[in-house]
Structures are given as C-alpha cells and as structure tokens.
Symmetry: C2
C-alpha cells in the first residue's frame, strides 16, 4: 500500500537544496526504523534545548520514553511544540577540492506536539515495540515490564504528520577545472556495527550469546528488509 505524501508546511519546506527533500511517508518511516537515537528540540522561556533520546515508531506515531523527573518530559507533557530529528550518517564524500567535500546522509525532521500515553495496556505494548525496535528478538526473552514499572515510566507519542526527509547519496560533484587534480576522489561509506559483546560481570545464565547480540547489525538489517 502506498501512503499519500505528507502535506508540506512552511516549517517542512526545505530552503536549501530542495531537490534533496522528500515528503514520502515510506521513506520517513524507513529512516526512523533504522535509527536508534533522535534529537528532541523544545523551547523553555524562549531558549532552545536539544536533548538526545532513544525513540521508536508504531504506525504513524513516534514514541519517546522517559523518567518522570527529566526536563524533556516535564516540558513535552505540557503539549509544547517539539521538533524531533533523526540523522543517519551514510558516508563521507571526498572531492578533489576542499569545498566540495560532503557527507551522504538520510535525515528526518518531525514537527508536532507530544501527548502522554496513559493507558496501561498501550504503555505495555509500546514498551515491547521499543525493545523490538532496538534489538529485534529480545523482547520475547526478557522479564517483561510489570504494571508498577509501566506506571513509573512516562511514554510520549508524537503524530508523524508534519514531517520531511532529506537525503544525499552518490559521489562528489567537482568543478570541471578540478578533474585532473592528482588525488583520489569518491565515497567512504560508513556503517554502525557491533563489536564483540561483553557479558555482564554478574551474569548467571550459561547459554550462548544470542545471535541478535553477536551479529547485531546484520540481524537488525535482515529484520528491517523482511518487514518492509
């Protein structure tokens, strides 16, 4: 099923390099599903704050969770305007000239307002989706949240409606006069991969390290391509 594009607003209209912009919900969702950290912007007494946070997506809602004491939660639960940005760095673009160097990336910017999720059932299923987003396969194996824990965790949801993506891909674009400059030029792709997992010093479980930990990046990528 193809989703209709997001409506453009003044906030989501790209001023710079609009050809890199997209209002395609499927692209926006794919970027959000790949990322692990978002940056949440809000205004307190006229001043900007940008706080890193984990997040996850269910349908057309972006979720954040937080301890009730956090500044971000205190602000967001009042229904203030928020801007959430997710950026995936895909590579470095090495040009012949210094100023044509660039980065390949995919980013999403969402404007909206957060609301607190109040229902215990919705909170519990949202928390399961969160773990499934970060480490697919983990939720089924761990001790699930109990109602006391759910009550002590604030979950916020933001509608993914006023949103856009911005993407750069491909090789450098140099000036014609620089094409003979004697230097290598091209892309250096970057990727986030796991190193050797480290067992907890107090681990009692004697089974093997699960595949989703040993082979994290590939397991998660396979899940994403299977799910799309």
């Amino acid at each position: 099923m193809t989703l209709p594009p997001f409506s453009r607003t003044d906030r989501t209209t790209l001023k710079r390099r609009p050809q890199r912009g997209s209002y395609d919900p499927e692209l926006v969702h794919a970027i959000l599903d790949e990322g692990l950290v978002c940056h949440v912007g809000f205004v307190v007494d006229g001043l900007p704050f940008v706080i890193p946070s984990s997040y996850w997506r269910i349908g057309n809602r972006l979720y954040l969770h937080s301890a009730p004491a956090s500044r971000m939660l205190q602000q967001l639960q009042q229904g203030v305007d928020v801007c959430v940005t997710v950026t995936l760095l895909d590579g470095l673009v090495l040009a012949r000239s210094a100023l044509h160097h660039s980065m390949n990336y995919r980013s999403v910017v969402i404007f909206g307002r957060a609301e607190r999720v109040e229902s215990e059932a919705e909170k519990l299923s949202a928390l399961e989706a969160f773990l499934d987003h970060v480490v697919p396969g983990r939720a089924a194996e761990v001790r699930p949240p109990n109602p006391t824990e759910a009550a002590g965790t604030a979950i916020l949801a933001i509608a993914i409606e006023e949103a856009s993506a911005k993407v750069r891909t491909g090789p450098p674009v140099d000036d014609a006069r620089d094409m003979d400059w004697p230097v290598w030029a091209g892309e250096v792709p970057l990727q986030m991969v796991e190193a050797q997992p480290k067992a907890s010093p107090d681990l009692r479980f004697e089974g093997p390290v699960p595949a989703y930990a040993r082979d994290y990046a590939r397991t998660r990528r396979d899940r994403a391509s299977g799910a799309s």
Copy 2:
C-alpha cells in the same frame, strides 16, 4: 595542561541522573573531536527547529559552515540563542528485564550564540581544520579553497563555554530478583566503521586509495589518540 571546569548554569545542570554529567572541558572536547554530526537547535517565531550539520572545533570554539541560503544560517547569524548537541552512541545495554535496557553513550550540549567569521584568513584556516577533523590527512592533498569560495561560504563560531557532557558506560543494572532470569545480559558495543571505498565514476587519478579512506576509522582514531 588541565583546563578549569565549565561553570554550571541552570541550562547545563542535569535534572536527571546528575551523576552521569561532567563539566570537564577535556571530556567535552574529546567528544566533539570524535563526532561528525551535530544537531543545532534554534527558535523561530517561538517554534523549535533541530537541524543536523557537520561541525568542527578549534580551541574553545565550535564551528559550523553553511550556504548563505540556509534557514539555519539566516537565523544563527542574527545572534539568536542556539543549542548544539553531539551524541556518540557507544553501545546497547541488554538487561534481564525489559525496562532496565539502556544505551551507552557520550553526549555534549552547548548553549550559546553564533557569530559569523568575517576574516578571509580565519575562514581559510577554519576550512582546513574542518577537513582535517573529518578526514585527517586529506587537507594537504586536495585543491585548497580559493578566496572566491571562502567568500561564498558562511562560517559560524560558537564559544564552548556554557557546556556539559553526559556519559553512560558499563553493564546493565538489574533488580536483584531478576538475576536468575534465563537470558544473556551484557553490552553490545557499537562503532562507526568504513565499508569499501567507492571511487568516483569519473575519477582520472590512477594512484591507490589513500589509507585514510581504506582504513578510515582506525586512521582517525590513531590521530585522535596521538593528538591528545
């Protein structure tokens, strides 16, 4: 030389888990020097914007560059308040219980105001430092910026004074009653590494792929440890 700690302000005082916070300039600088992308927050008509950007550091100043047409530049050069956040995701923390899962990370938040760098000489040396930050060793090999290019590039500087770092490291912290839950627990370290470089389709240079591209992550890490 040990730098004195940053003065704490209301904005940089951590409300949540203050034991993870630091006002040590050397830690703040090390995180900034390792990162490649920052998230820049500013307020337009009372509404928050969070825009990803490359950046670099020279001494106690953080630099951004931008095309003159960008919304970020248009706003920041007016001297508005800005919040710049850099987050390095170091790993996933897999606990026995769902709600004790966490992430290991190092982040920096800087509050301040940007000013435009106007001097051509300062712009040219700042651009060289930028390339050196992203790809150490590259600046000496490429066609350097000329005065026309420097004039067409806006460079902004923000003093790194009202700043703090926040760091989580180490294994999960589970409740005592969950220690026998039959699941692996520990850390999955994450790291950003290069994949195989891709030469530009129109590349004329016939020399080898430079080590800083072939072996990007290690080259940059070695440079960082040598420089500190």
